[in-house]
Symmetry: C2
Subunit: 291 residues, 2 copies
Amino acid sequence: MLEEGEDGALTGLRTLLPDAGRAHLLGITGPPGAGKSTLVDRVVSELRRRNKTVGVIAIDPSSPFSGGAILGDRVRMQTHATDTGVFIRSMATRGQLGGLARTSFEATTVLDAMGYDVVLIETVGVGQDEVDVVELAHTTTVVSIPGMGDDIQAIKAGILEVGDCFVVNKADLPGAERVAMQLAAMLHLRESSGENWETPILKVEAEKARGIDQLVDIYEAHRAHLASSGGLVRKAVRRNERVFHELLRERTAAQALHAVEGGGEPVLAALRAGEIDPYTAVDRVLGEEHD
Amino acid sequence: MLEEGEDGALTGLRTLLPDAGRAHLLGITGPPGAGKSTLVDRVVSELRRRNKTVGVIAIDPSSPFSGGAILGDRVRMQTHATDTGVFIRSMATRGQLGGLARTSFEATTVLDAMGYDVVLIETVGVGQDEVDVVELAHTTTVVSIPGMGDDIQAIKAGILEVGDCFVVNKADLPGAERVAMQLAAMLHLRESSGENWETPILKVEAEKARGIDQLVDIYEAHRAHLASSGGLVRKAVRRNERVFHELLRERTAAQALHAVEGGGEPVLAALRAGEIDPYTAVDRVLGEEHD
């Protein structure tokens, strides 16, 4: 049923859309080294304890040749490997046909339509694409840890505005309280989203599964908040708009190339030979060449 | 001369293209906390000592509201603030019109055409877009530090293949030799690029400016290698192709929306109202609606 079209889109996907829309979409992001994998593992365990089925999509910044090794490293997956209530899929960000927002939307939609109660998307929160992806979730968690220096501050600033919930992991390390206070100060500066949601800052120790039950309580509270405030619909609209624009860009570009001589190959050949610059090449495909 | 067109493209840019193509484009990437900013500062100093003028483009994963604060944090810029041989520009990755590859290409081209001998692009090497950007440079440096855990390993794997040179920063910390050995082992697994370039792994202490002169020697050697092996042309072709595809996608999508009723607003309204899904919305814009 699901087949990749010329543009890489899953053409069968739209038949699944009526079945999707029931899952709670959780996004978890944060800088490298913050212990996201362990946190995700513990959250999955707690959700299972509450009889929720869970689909996990881990966005890997992996290269084609190293992808296997990274997957092999994901020891946490072994915990849930024999549990049919859990489905885990890693998506590489390299070599994907179609943008990350669209491909992760498609993976999310499939798991949602299959009936998973919760679909959890994990990314390393640094790149723009990756931040966008978790932003498309219903409830986004930003994970920090103590003592990662100024560079981390910059990143935290970048993803601060997308967080519905902030977790300070490894809360037993020195400096955890300071990170929580810095987060509180930064959140204070954040323009109000007008959503009447008091963004929680929660200290946890994922390794020891401490604080995970409170975190899942927060997820359930945020979900209820979104349902009563119209936030679920608002987030779905944003997701749909984003996918629409990505898909439109890909399909129109493919059509434009298809419409010109040799599928655009002569233009690309001239570009490769350095006879024309990229701007002129685009003009030529669009039949708008300037002098 | 440089004006933003409807699609955000710098329409005057093509007039600069004939003047560009002389600068050595350096990409520096690595995970957060690796000390990239300090390293860039020291490399700029060493290049200046060698009488090279330098343009720096720092890709900030910053949000619009926090951008100012992050720029303020860039103390390193103060070192070179009064040096007319150095130009530094931070680019936010959020809220940009046009893809990151195209906008950074444009910024690079401007600095190149202005006559800077070296244009240095710094990104946090985690997101796909950010890796792509440094990959478009002539010489890409991947920065690591000791003791950042498994999460870093995954990232290193993601950016391993784009490195022309590997730097282990903070080489005075325990574990530096181990990181260098791990990198050597991973590079050994890397498929040969067929470029006959022995990828160096260099231990430095950017804070104390130790190893920076060797690093800049490597840059000069790699530049000479590219010039003699045809690599400069090959990299320029890849950069041009990438920009061509990004620009084509944006312009064709804008044209398609422009061509339908109300600039696509009725379709977007139906999408926002949940009457149609994103796939149907794209079909409708393209006049290809299915039943």
